[in-house]
Symmetry: C2
Subunit: 219 residues, 2 copies
């Protein structure tokens, strides 16, 4: 099934607001997120209900059907992959990407997304650490560890950064630390709580407690 630009935004909004669960989503919540009026939401919910993409009951709220959920996930997947592209390849800052991805997510081509995914090295999550659904619409969440808590000798893939200030991002850029990089703990220094790590088995650097507190890895 193919959807219009607007339908896609609504489906994704319901998915985001219900956080993947069965939770009922209210008209006002959607109106605020999508910056439209409540009346517009009601109109669209009735339309999506007729199309079998949502279950909508007057005054009660709305939930996605399985079909609707799969559509929403596909759009989210595209959104997140484009965000990775913008940051990793075009060197955008994390705060500049959402608006552009909001447009790019509507490009209609399955093969394009397959190739983009592959080109980006099948990333696990977007720059904000949101897990990217795979091509089958499954969301495989791997447990994440705060770098501070990782034992000596352990390595993992950097999969999220908690602080997304420009200053921190610049620090990471300078040290060649990026999402998807392999980080290995060589030695933990008790005295100042810093640690020596390698990036992609190459550079060995020392990172302070302030840094390790803001990096999450998946094993």
């Amino acid at each position: 099934m193919k959807h219009t630009h607007a339908e896609e935004n609504y489906l994704k909004a319901i998915y985001m607001l219900s956080e993947g669960e069965e939770r009922l989503v209210s008209t006002t919540a959607m109106a605020e997120l999508l910056r439209t009026r409540a009346a517009s939401i009601t109109d669209m919910m009735q339309k999506l209900h007729h199309k079998g993409l949502v279950v909508y009951r007057k005054y009660q709220g709305v939930t996605l059907t399985e079909t609707g959920k799969q559509s929403a996930i596909k759009i989210l997947r595209k959104h997140l992959l484009w965000e990775v592209f913008l940051v990793e390849k075009l060197k955008f800052g994390w705060n500049e990407i959402h608006e552009i991805a909001e447009q790019l997510e509507h490009i209609d081509s399955d093969i394009l997304i397959d190739r983009l995914d592959h080109f980006l090295g099948n990333p696990y999550c977007n720059p904000h650490g949101i897990v990217i659904p795979n091509a089958d619409g499954k969301i495989v969440t791997k447990p994440r560890l705060l770098m501070t808590d990782v034992a000596e000798g352990t390595s993992g893939i950097i999969s999220a950064i908690k602080d997304d200030s420009v200053a921190f991002l610049q620090y990471l850029g300078k040290r060649n630390i990026y999402l998807g990089a392999k980080m290995t703990v060589i030695e933990k220094i008790k005295f100042d709580e810093s640690m020596d790590v390698t990036i992609d088995n190459q550079y060995k650097i020392n990172i302070s407690r302030k840094i390790t507190d803001n990096i999450l890895i998946t094993l």
Copy 2:
């Protein structure tokens, strides 16, 4: 000025059909290119005329104003850059890219296009050899030479390929010949009209007359 998705397609179509000149474009020509009905074209031409983007006179045809032309060029630039991206980075075949670029050209972000351009190495033309307008909307055409006619010792940048059959593209791929590569003529062999060339000053290969007849370079 920002335009709707549809307006952009019409502006680009007028530009393509008038080939950058002042030539009047007919309603039917546009209807065919855009796969719509003549009546829809008339509607839109009246609208674009009111907006000052085209000069339209009943039954006479339409031309772009300077403003309209600049808009058209910007859209074309985006279209062509995305096509380069699809071929060079995502490894699409030349025949698969136009439809996707037709969508991507409407993404609205100046900085995105600047960065994409830079990421792609400021390409001179798209995979079909169409020159990409620069950021100021200027189209700088460099003279192009058929590889067959290039003298020994000369080198240039591959800027167009005449035959875009799958077979030829596969041949080029296998030999690491790609758009933007530097090709240098080492020796021209009179006997079979083939020539020895280097690609990016690295590989030295022999290419036959059939190949040199289909490659264009800029000095």
